[in-house]
Symmetry: C2
Subunit: 411 residues, 2 copies
Amino acid sequence: MKSDLPALMEARGLDALIILGDAMHNPAMTYFTGVKHVTDGVLVVKRGEEPVLFYHNMERDEAAATGLQTRSITDYNYRDIYEQEGKNPLRATARLYQRMLIDAGLTAGKVAVYGQRDAGETFGLISGLQELLPNIEFVGEYKDSLLLQARATKDPQEIEQMRSVAQSTVEVVGQVADFLSRQKDVGGVLTGEDGQQVTVAKVKSLINRLLAERGMDNPHGTIFAPGAEGGVPHSQGSPDAPLRLGEPIVFDIYPVQAGGGYFADFTRTWCIGHATPEAQALYDDVRAVFDTVMGELKTGVHGTVYQDRVCELFEAQGHPTVRQNPLTRNGYVHSFAHGLGLDIHERPSTGRDTTAEDVLKPGMVITVEPGLYYPERGLGVRIEDAVYMHPDGHIEILAPYPYDLVIPLKS
Amino acid sequence: MKSDLPALMEARGLDALIILGDAMHNPAMTYFTGVKHVTDGVLVVKRGEEPVLFYHNMERDEAAATGLQTRSITDYNYRDIYEQEGKNPLRATARLYQRMLIDAGLTAGKVAVYGQRDAGETFGLISGLQELLPNIEFVGEYKDSLLLQARATKDPQEIEQMRSVAQSTVEVVGQVADFLSRQKDVGGVLTGEDGQQVTVAKVKSLINRLLAERGMDNPHGTIFAPGAEGGVPHSQGSPDAPLRLGEPIVFDIYPVQAGGGYFADFTRTWCIGHATPEAQALYDDVRAVFDTVMGELKTGVHGTVYQDRVCELFEAQGHPTVRQNPLTRNGYVHSFAHGLGLDIHERPSTGRDTTAEDVLKPGMVITVEPGLYYPERGLGVRIEDAVYMHPDGHIEILAPYPYDLVIPLKS
């Protein structure tokens, strides 16, 4: 968590972090600022010191609302620098950043870089800055970054926000279930009062409205994938697809607090009206593995131990798994869990890029999401909850919601 | 526009572009893919050849829906590479990307890099890739990039999408005006049927619901800034702020097609019930300048000519401007226009980073947004429309909407 930063920085020999970009939909920045309408800012975090936020004048009120120490970028008068640098925007911006870093007392040492920005701009800017500040060693970490390591465990204020967005999300899920249950069965296809088929697009429009009403953004969309589409884990569901009764629908919803704060991540698989025997059987297998792993989950164990365990359990049921064949498209094809926070996927990882650091620790929030996929047979099933691993070892489901496979029709 | 790319690449001596990241909320990528649920992809665009998209297996259906040539990243078996590279995720990923680029036939030449990603990851990855592929010169352009230059002019398909999102946006604006007009005046403060004051937060919640219903995301929020907050151009409006009758409210709305396609950008300033004489006078000044500049706008003229013109007109009215003092916080404090498209702010620029390229050209979509700000006097006024500069010279407002300052109450 954030209070670990000085020790983590010392362990990695980092003297400072610089974080670039907006304070919305930019996890590294909002980790320090909260969600604020600060664009194209620069945050300097020196080890053991208070962070300093450089902002543009038009956003001075928003910058002040972060509660951080602030300095105006506008006061550096970019236009003059731009003229001095022959109207070359890359050289001028590197010069501007050089001056800001010098004023922040950062002229030497090892400095890690973060923040969502255009890749080309970043590569050009940091390379240029490296030439202007040769006594600084700029470091670009990958996947296992210090900031991701700090963010892997959450403090109580973060957990409160994560519970809130998770709770709002399951409320939306409940409203969607209620909406579906009030439609009609016309020849095996879900149909509205108006005689129109209920499409994936219609359900997603409802989801977006309900999320917006509760103060959530949905930047990555929603998976609402019926039948064969649910057999491919990340297929979103074709907008015009009808919903056939009995067929499983994978409903994976992962909204974020408005402006880009903490994410929820939640999946249920539903059959409307009734479940086909094939869907019920696949669901029962996933549910059994989900319950077993949830019961066994504890801190101090490396995440991959559970990934192995999930593979073992699915294999015992007769399903192919990624453990047997990393390229399989049938059976259990992904990893069982991932960290959740300001990103949908953060540390710990139990997938292809897991490291020794990915031991489950008190303070972590992870999803648990076993699933089975048979695209050629036209179905997939996934169940996912996000859990908080309490310091006392207790495992809390952030927002409990029933696991029923079938959404019965009310009429 | 996109068809200009081969010529633009030749002019800059670029042999290829590589675009990194998701196909949602990532303008450089969605420019080629459309909005698709493809995460952590790599697009290789060689000069004069069809682009090739590398995707992960779980998203194969979404990748196929782009209509581009596709190749699976999963087939490279990252886990093996990761083991070979001593479980170092940066080295392993650089090696993976090296293999993909080689298979795409990219082993030499000048290659520009694009795409929204974490700054540190990009800097590390491209630096690592540069070592593995020494015959490639990786280029990070800044602000004046080739892709931004291409995107500055739009083709008819893009204009159709931009008209659509602009039209949906003014429909929402109209519904917000209607909502406000149906509230009551209680002691000079806008108040609902339920006796509660109508706050900024309440209006924004309505805006988000209406946008979601029409298939738009609102990742950057909305400016709905009453009184003194409207006197600072990018203040968002405090959630709990009440709306006082007569006081100007700056309402700047900039949603995007769901998943991150084209943006709208639109501003009106409203006084509810009536306008104070001070607000009316400031509004009349801005409106006069807006009308004059809209009447004078034509292609073939550099954007800064109009910025000068706006300054001249405001100065003649007695207002301070950025032309006299780049750091002024009173009067006219920003630039009059910016390009609009897959980003809210793109080329052309008429502000501090303008270049010789920023001549207004047929095919461009720009906002026109003069404004006046007096934070100490407690008010600001801005008017903004987005216009399309037709190839025949005609200037089209993408979504016309009335300019009335006062929203009369219905009861």
